[in-house]
Symmetry: C2
Subunit: 325 residues, 2 copies
């Protein structure tokens, strides 16, 4: 009997919540012997007769994942592709192709759709991937479904391989996009570097493969929020992770936004997800690949199980968000 069988018959998605619903849904999906990595990691890995394919999918909905007034269509396209390419990055793989489904109202400017397409293709080209197919349909709001396919040169790096004693390290900017979103949400347009970081993230596309080749034990892309995503590694690896604030250097625009909004900018680093940074764990004393900075350590879990702490203590600031919650 799956956990979902205990849902009340009239329970809605909001009643059940995103995580319980995902668990109930995936319990319906029996995995065949061809599936090397199924649901629950950054991407799935399927063995094929002569090779393998790494695949991940995202569904972006207007007003929830993007707003047309907050970014030009080209940037929305780049961001939609980036979010997916980052999932292949987090497995240690390289993307080769994407498919895109676009649902849109009939009165959407055609120019907007073309700009979106150009943004998608531009971002894909950064890793040598092509948009190979798609679907177009009417919908009452703009929805963008992106699926990315890729391959791994070495074994894919999962969320479940971290060990006590490993070093936690990050590649790419972290917190900039979340700070940019906070700025936009308050009606401001600066600091410009942060707004641009939100509108057009720059994921560290070389980092995932480099980490895999350097022997990373676990890896994830930061999309739910740094602590939330480290929580996925902690839970799947059954470890405790402690992050050190001092490891993060606060860039000038982050100080500026903290002063302007009257908040501790560290919350954007600990809770932000839209930069698509890569966090990975490496065996102690291994040389970190170029682009990675150590930010914490992996420890044996305490009595209460897997955990993520900041400087040894629970963190009670914002750490991302859940749908339907």
């Amino acid at each position: 009997m799956s956990a979902s069988d205990s849902f009340a018959p009239d329970a809605t998605l909001a009643d059940v919540g995103e995580f319980a619903l995902v668990a109930a849904l995936t319990s319906r999906f029996e995995q065949g012997s061809q599936v090397y990595v199924g649901p629950g990691d950054d991407a799935a890995v399927i063995r094929t007769p002569k090779g393998h394919v790494v695949v991940s999918t995202d569904l972006l909905v207007e007003g929830r994942h993007f707003k047309r007034e907050w970014a030009p269509a080209r940037d929305i396209g780049r961001k939609a592709a980036a979010s997916n390419l980052s999932d292949i990055n987090a497995m240690g793989g390289t993307a080769h192709s994407l498919t895109v489904g676009l649902g849109a109202p009939a009165d959407l400017p055609a120019r907007w759709a073309l700009d979106l397409a150009e943004g998608l293709a531009e971002e894909a080209a950064l890793v040598g991937a092509s948009i190979v197919g798609g679907d177009l349909t009417t919908a009452s709001e703009v929805v963008i479904a992106v699926t990315v396919l890729g391959t791994c040169e070495v074994a894919p790096v999962l969320r479940s391989g971290a060990h006590a004693g490993d070093v936690v390290a990050i590649a790419g900017r972290q917190g900039w996009a979340a700070a940019g979103l906070a700025v936009l949400a308050r009606g401001f347009r600066s600091p410009r570097a942060l707004v641009q970081a939100y509108q057009r993230p720059q994921p560290p596309y070389a980092a995932g493969r480099a980490a895999a080749q350097a022997g990373a034990t676990a890896m994830i892309d930061v999309s739910d929020g740094l602590l939330a995503d480290l929580g996925h590694i902690a839970r799947d690896s059954a470890v405790a992770i402690d992050i050190h604030r001092d490891a993060f250097e606060l860039a000038d625009p982050m100080h500026a936004v903290g002063s302007a909004l009257g908040v501790d900018p560290m919350q954007f680093i600990l809770g932000g997800g839209d930069d698509h940074a890569i966090v990975a764990t490496f065996p102690a004393r291994s040389a970190l690949p170029a682009g990675f900075t150590a930010i914490g350590s992996v420890e044996e879990p305490g009595e209460s199980g897997p955990s993520v702490t900041v400087d040894g203590a629970a963190y009670d600031g914002p750490t991302g968000w859940a749908h339907f919650a």
Copy 2:
């Protein structure tokens, strides 16, 4: 300069129309050397370092592609998977995995989402494929994004390979689902066999691979409508196709629905698409694989270019439909 550059700056999707928009969008998608078949066929085919992957994607929107009151969630899931699995079928391939993105209002019954998932998994299991990943998000209407991945044992069969002299043949039921939809749209629930054909199509999943192995020259799955989809083969192969009404045996429920609705049931066969039948062209005098019935012939195109005719004449009944038109 692409055709799309001639769009008026303020043109909407409705102004431009689906086909011109798809052409403009795909012109933005440069295809890398890894792409063996890009946009424009039933599925794309990408070469990978050690193998290949066949991929196709569909976006289904409530009220446009399905109505919750017209079919139970499990059937909608089966149909969503079937529509995608059929695209791999039409390349002569076999699907091994699917990803699913679900966007839904927070007040959707959780039970509906679980039933949908079970339907998706059931249909996938018919060909040995697994649901390997997905995404879940809030949206103001239900949207289902399905991507299917597969492989081909022999070279994929494209839409572009038909030659004058070839035989046109079909596998699977044709017109039943369209007749069922017509029944539902008028508020009826019978003939039951037709309504069920619409709610839960039974694509001929063995037919595509069999056709490829038998040397089919061109192939497509019937999703836009039989004549519309034969039009894709005619155009991409630069041929004329003539279909023979006599080749179709009208089953009893089709006669019944024709009488009840006061229409010629042949319109459902010529214009319907929801059964996911497979049509293919084969060299003259080749033995058709099991399950295929000859329905017409391929000829040299006339002066006006590629065409599809019925018993030698243009057909002016319903032949499918276009989004945004």
